[in-house]
């Protein structure tokens, strides 16, 4: 059919609303928690939980979403990424239905790091509702005595968690910066404003050449 052919000729599709909502939601959460809110504060924990929920939803969408949102549209492949990089250095450009192979790798790296940040955060904070219980637990431990072995191991674990959390969070911000640079580069070479298409969902070429 003519219609399907025309659709395929267009190649890449715009992003669906769920991809856009989760993308900007997570981005806002990461920026807020990474730069503005105080680590360990109640608002930090709430934003963290919200961002984690969005991440879970996006990963679920990776299995059941429309074609270009699914993991199968951008399987993690180092060889494909290397081939893509070679094409880029030769100045060739190819249109992908979803992420380009390098962008896909970055998506997986961001998701993995985000998962580490979220899980270590949850391990430290517990449920946001159980703040009171956490306080109770803390006083219980304190009453056990300052030289209680229980408390010592607890503290060690907390320190380890906190360090992993901070390290992963810094890595996340670093990766996000590269991600933004990559998007800028791809936008320039493909002449498609990718930031706008991530907002509106439409993939249009830049008007003035």
């Amino acid at each position: 059919m003519v219609a399907t052919e025309a659709g395929q000729e267009q190649g890449a599709r715009g992003w669906d609303p769920l991809v856009r909502l989760t993308h900007w939601g997570v981005a806002a959460g990461v920026l807020l928690n990474g730069i503005i809110t105080e680590g360990g504060s109640q608002i930090h924990v709430w934003i963290g939980y919200a961002a984690f929920s969005l991440l879970v939803l996006r990963l679920l969408w990776g299995f059941i979403g429309p074609e270009e949102a699914r993991f199968s549209a951008f399987p993690p492949s180092l060889s494909a990424a290397a081939a893509h990089l070679k094409r880029v250095t030769r100045g060739e450009h190819r249109v992908y239905r979803s992420h380009n192979p390098l962008g896909g790798l970055m998506a997986y790296a961001l998701w993995a790091t985000l998962t580490v940040v979220a899980l270590t955060g949850i391990a430290m904070a517990g449920s946001p509702l159980s703040e009171v219980r956490a306080d109770e637990a803390a006083t219980e431990y304190a009453e056990e005595g300052e030289y209680g072995e229980h408390k010592e191991s607890q503290e060690e674990e907390a320190e380890w968690l906190e360090e992993s959390h901070e390290f992963a969070a810094n890595l996340l911000l670093f990766l996000a910066a590269i991600h933004v640079a990559g998007v800028g580069f791809e936008s320039a070479t493909s002449r498609v404003n990718l930031v706008r298409s991530m907002i509106t969902g439409e993939r249009r070429r830049v008007q003035n050449e």
Binding site: M1, V2, A3, T4, A6, G7, R13, D16, P17, L18, R20, L21, T22, G25, Y49, A50, F52, S53, L54, V56, L57, L60, W61, I64, G65, P66, I122, G126, S127, P128, L129, S130, R133, G201
Partner: protein
Amino acid sequence: MKKPSLSTARPARRTMALAGLLVIQSLAAVFFVGDAIADISLNGFNLHIILESLVAFALVLGVMFGAYEMRRTIERARRSERALAAASGALGELIETTFEAWGLTAAESEVALLTLKGFDVAEIARLRGAAAGTVRAQLTRVYSKAGVSSRAQFISLFIEDLLDGPVGATGAEGASQTAAV
């Protein structure tokens, strides 16, 4: 070609609303699952926690089915968008070639197209910033070139083509396929 703005705006808004709902649902689901796990690890099982876990489980299922439904909505919207683009592309092509065959001037083509779209003389005059008399004269020339005497006849020329004539390649293909089946 005109963008199919009205017809794509509605599904887009619907999927956006669905996506928003899914986001809120998953916030709730993660919250409840987290709370259930925290409660179980603190207090072990009792009737309250079993109920709470069931609620959390139902929420997770709801998110999954909601997401599946949303994908179907998106795919349906895309299919109809494609079909619409093909159909309006074919009709637009037909209209364009027909106008050319009649030898309409640019101004006459525009007036003729607006007439096909259902605007009356006064509206066309306002849209084009011309006098109603000018538009009426242009329309008369369009009708005479098309060999019709009224607006109704003029419009039915295209309806007729759409109903049985070869409407571009798609129409012919579709017609022969239907015939074959």
